[in-house]
């Protein structure tokens, strides 16, 4: 929100130069930045619009921060005609409109506002219109209360504050037509809406240069309702901005009194009647402040006197001074943000200066720190993969591609980021593609969350582009899973180009051949956490030597290595430690229907040194079985 430095200076005559004032506000009140010329910008907290969205409010902060005197013209107007029946105000729902103060004025002419007022309006980003409208806007900038003036002679049968009807229309002051519904509040008369309450005035009953009688409105509207209307239309105005944050109903009268003074002083206007339609106004709030509790909470060591002093600077009323180290504090009437003890601690701490706070090591009972299992797993996996030459990428969680389990965003930022990703493959393929202009071979991975059928899981995605990508990938995954504590892993063909990774009958993920030199895999890390909670355990080192036997076979081309290995596995041979594929040739002897495979079988016993006869007896079963089952020819 924009503020004028000269105006603040007028309200707080001893205020420091602009730069110093901005620093002070920054460090003790609100984030504040200089603007060109006389103005500065304050980023008000959303809970401070009631008291601080005005020059008076900021002047009060400045006075408190620098401990200076403030001078505002907020005297009450007394002795004016009330409830004479010259005009009517009817509020249908006082929840939607807790207060409506209306005053009827007679004036000789609408005229112009004085140049000092125009100047202030300008520097706060408002356009001068005419004497009446400018005073309305000026009073809002001064007090924070939005005001509106109607041409009293354009209103039929008095003012009604009510919910809009569905499809009710209104044309605003600047000529835009809005369609309203029953969730909006309108200021209406017998004929229809005159204004969108708290948001914008309408064309009808607009003050013009011939206007001689005006009704000035200073009202209070339900914050939620104004917020919703403002978002729906959408229409953010100086008024809706303030009302949507919530204003105190007491402010309405303050604004009206100030407007009354200015209308009289500048335009010679005279109050001829007035009404104040109000629900019960908010009462006093009294909050206990315990100085010891404060010092323990913030970590300062202030005495009661200085605490009281800080609160007084902010306009708090202090009572019950006799209690040893606590007292009662009553916040200024507009401070809707102050409700509990902790709110008071903020006031004292900031005014004392958060920078005054000395850092102090916490004193606590020692509890061993823990790291969540999947966090540990994640970093283990990353370290292993980096060791294998993989680089880590981060992709967006959103994608333009939908599959049957996709969740969709209600408000996507763009069409290519409309769905939550259901896997990491798509992103990784994209990374391989965009990097391929720089690199021929790549190994990349990502760890991230994906969403399927509304459930979230933590995934690892691995992709590589190199010769024999699939076989490297399979080898790497075996090592990786072993490295995180999984030993029994199966990679089972699922379709022509896809394998499922299984352990203990759980599907952990899949491997996909994208094309000859590109493969990728995805693994559900959440499942692995559940499977690897056990600890590593020592196994005796082998005492007896291993004996190796190679077998070379020629099989029909369609026979897969997996089938051969499964056939060997199914024989349940005695003392077999390992079976490895050590050689692989397509087109055996130039025949594309045949391929040649060589397996190395490692035999070892933990009881004794195996003899050649013992090994030979088991080994010979392999050749027989493969010949029988897979039409293999042993070479």
């Amino acid at each position: 929100m924009k503020f004028s430095y000269p105006f603040i200076k007028k309200l707080v005559p001893q205020a420091p130069v602009k730069a110093k004032l901005i620093d002070g506000l920054n460090m003790k009140a609100f984030e504040t930045e200089p603007l060109d010329g006389d103005a500065f910008e304050v980023k008000l907290s959303p809970n401070r619009y009631s008291d601080a969205a005005s020059h008076w409010g900021i002047a009060r902060e400045v006075a408190a921060v620098f401990n200076l005197k403030i001078k505002v013209d907020d005297k009450k107007v007394v002795n004016f005609p009330q409830n004479k029946g010259l005009f009517k105000i009817k509020v249908l729902d006082n929840k939607l409109c807790p207060r409506y103060v209306g005053r009827l004025f007679e004036l000789k002419k609408v005229g112009d506002s004085p140049s000092w007022m125009k100047k202030l309006l300008h520097s706060c980003g408002l356009r001068p219109i005419n004497g009446v409208v400018d005073i309305m806007n000026y009073v809002m900038l001064e007090t924070g209360q939005p005001l509106h003036a109607f041409d009293a002679d354009g209103i039929e049968k008095g003012i009604i504050v009510r919910s809009a009807k569905n499809n009710e229309e209104i044309t605003s002051l600047d000529g835009v037509r809005y369609h309203l519904d029953e969730k909006d509040i309108v200021i209406a008369d017998g004929k229809g809406p005159l204004a969108i309450a708290g948001v914008k005035g309408g064309k009808r009953a607009e003050v013009n240069k011939n206007t001689r009688r005006i009704i000035v409105e200073a009202a209070n509207f339900d914050q939620v309702s104004i917020y919703k209307t403002m978002k729906k239309l959408p229409l953010t105005t100086d008024a809706s901005l303030r009302f949507s944050h919530g204003l105190n109903p007491h402010l309405a009268l303050t604004g009206m009194d100030r407007a009354t003074v200015l209308l009289k002083d500048i335009l010679g206007a005279k109050v001829t009647d007035s009404m104040d339609v109000s629900a019960k106004l908010p009462g006093k709030k009294i909050i206990e402040f315990n100085v010891d509790k404060f010092n323990k909470f913030i970590g300062l060591n202030l005495d009661k006197k200085s605490v009281v002093n800080y609160l007084k600077r902010l306009g708090f009323t202090i009572q019950d001074f006799k209690k040893s180290n606590s007292f009662l504090a009553e916040p200024p009437v507009l401070r809707d943000d102050i409700n509990i003890f902790e709110d008071l601690t903020e006031e004292v701490a900031r005014l004392c200066g958060l920078d005054e706070l000395k850092s102090f090591p916490p004193v606590v009972g020692l509890q061993p720190a823990e790291i969540q299992d999947d966090v540990v797993l994640k970093s283990k996996v990353k370290k292993i993969l980096v060791g294998f030459g993989f680089s880590e990428v981060y992709n967006y969680s959103f994608t333009g591609q939908k599959d049957k389990d996709s969740s969709e965003l209600e408000n996507p930022i763009s069409q290519d980021k409309k769905y939550l990703r259901t896997g990491l493959s798509l992103g990784l393929k994209g990374n391989l593609r965009t990097n391929s202009k720089d690199l021929d071979n790549m190994r990349i991975f990502e760890v991230g969350r994906v969403w399927r059928a509304n459930s979230e899981s933590l995934r690892l995605g691995v992709a590589l582009k190199e010769e024999d990508a699939l076989f490297h990938l399979k080898g790497i995954l075996s090592r990786l899973l072993e490295g995180v504590g999984l030993t029994e892993i199966l990679m089972k063909p699922d379709s022509k180009n896809r394998l499922l990774i299984e352990s203990d009958n759980n599907v952990l993920g899949f491997i996909e051949v994208v094309h000859k030199n590109v493969s990728l895999a995805e693994i559900n890390l959440g499942d692995i956490v559940l499977l690897t909670i056990g600890e590593n355990e020592y196994r005796p080192l082998p005492k007896y030597p291993a004996i190796m036997r190679d077998i070379s076979i020629v099989v029909p081309a369609e026979v897969r290595v997996g089938e051969v290995m499964e056939a060997i596995d199914n024989l349940s041979l005695k003392d077999v430690e390992d079976v490895d594929l050590v050689d692989y040739f397509d087109k055996f002897g130039g025949d594309s229907k045949k391929k040649s495979l060589t397996f190395r079988i490692v035999f070892r016993s933990y009881q004794k040194t195996l003899t050649d006869e013992e090994v030979e007896k088991e080994f010979s079963k392999i050749g027989q079985a493969l010949t029988r089952l897979l039409k293999a020819v042993v070479r």
Binding site: E31, T345, S359, V386, F398
Partner: protein, 330 residues
């Protein structure tokens, strides 16, 4: 000569063998027909059964060891490696190495610092309910305060009880953690968060945040200052000045903003790095804890922002391009 000294002599000698010829004469010297060990073995037959047994075992072991040494040396020396001339000035082979993403690197570093300060590490869901992301954190519905967090909402399945969203901060984990644990709490929560906003050099639609929470009976704002100063000093390993300013977040009271300034390198401007404050009593209540006995601080910091400062990265969007030219610098 006893077996023990023969053993020492032979093994020492083996060390200095440099070619196959020497190796052969070594073999002849000890294991040849007239070799020193051979003669010891031969003399065994003249000894008593007891002597034969102990000496024989030792002598045979030495024979096996020497055979192994000779075998090994033979392989080593006959490979021809020694004769071939190697140009030792040739550059080393390029080894392909992988790189952690800079965000992982900095997150690891952050986690290490906080675990050394005895903070536990937990993570939480990125797809959240409106309750945990807003209501429980004292952020009222239909209040402009909520506009501080521009939100991605999920399309609702029919009959859904509650609106779901992509979490806009890691703070929901304050509630989730406190609901299921007993104080004292001392945790950090790193994780991805989402904001519906136009992207530019300092804004992304998804980014990483680190939440911190420390609660006990006496944890004060001064304690926060200590922890956070220790953290930043260790992370940046530079002299840092700190500035604490008042701020506003509905789930803390008082709320503060932390600025830092590097004083060593003359990078002399204040950088806004962190929002924090004392946990609001309503937040304790939302997690079914009694605020009367508890006090503590919470903070939130953007991880990209720290990485950008630490590694001097100019644009937040670089983190999500998957460009290996960028990633492989780290």
């Amino acid at each position: 000569m006893g077996i023990a000294s023969l053993r020492k002599q032979a093994l020492d000698e083996a060390e200095s063998i440099e070619d196959v010829k020497q190796l052969e004469s070594f073999r002849v010297k000890y294991l040849g027909r007239k070799g020193e060990l051979t003669s010891v073995l031969r003399s065994l037959k003249d000894l008593s059964l007891n002597e034969r047994r102990s000496l024989g075992e030792e002598a045979n072991k030495l024979r096996r060891d020497l055979e192994e040494v000779i075998d090994f040396k033979h392989k080593e020396l006959s490979a021809g490696g020694k004769e071939e001339i190697i140009d030792i000035t040739r550059p080393g082979k390029k080894v392909q190495v992988g790189h952690l993403h800079p965000l992982t690197r900095i997150e690891d570093e952050i986690k290490e610092i906080f675990t050394s300060l005895n903070f536990s590490i937990v993570e939480g869901p990125e797809l959240e309910s409106e309750y945990y992301n807003f209501d429980a954190l004292n952020i009222p519905p239909a209040h402009p305060a909520r506009d501080m967090w521009d939100t991605f909402w999920l399309k609702q399945p029919k009959n859904a009880k509650e609106r779901r969203l992509m979490r806009t901060h890691t703070s929901p984990m304050q509630i989730r953690y406190m609901e299921t644990h007993q104080p004292p709490f001392q945790i950090i929560v790193p994780g991805r968060v989402f904001r519906y906003e136009a992207t530019d050099a300092s804004h992304e639609i998804n980014f990483y945040q680190l939440e911190g929470l420390m609660v006990d009976e006496n944890i004060s704002l001064a304690n926060f200052k200590f922890i956070i100063e220790a953290f930043f000093k260790r992370l940046f390993k530079e002299k840092i000045e700190f500035r604490f300013r008042p701020s506003y977040f509905p789930f803390v009271e008082p709320a503060v903003e932390v600025d830092i300034k590097f004083t060593t390198k003359g990078r002399g401007e204040w950088l806004e790095v962190m929002g924090a404050g004392m946990v609001h009593p309503r937040v304790f209540e939302a997690a079914h804890l009694n605020p009367r006995d508890l006090q503590g601080f919470a903070f939130g910091v953007g991880i990209e922002r720290l990485a950008m400062i630490k590694y001097k990265i100019p644009d937040i969007r670089m983190f999500y391009t998957g460009d290996l030219k960028f990633i492989n610098q780290f």
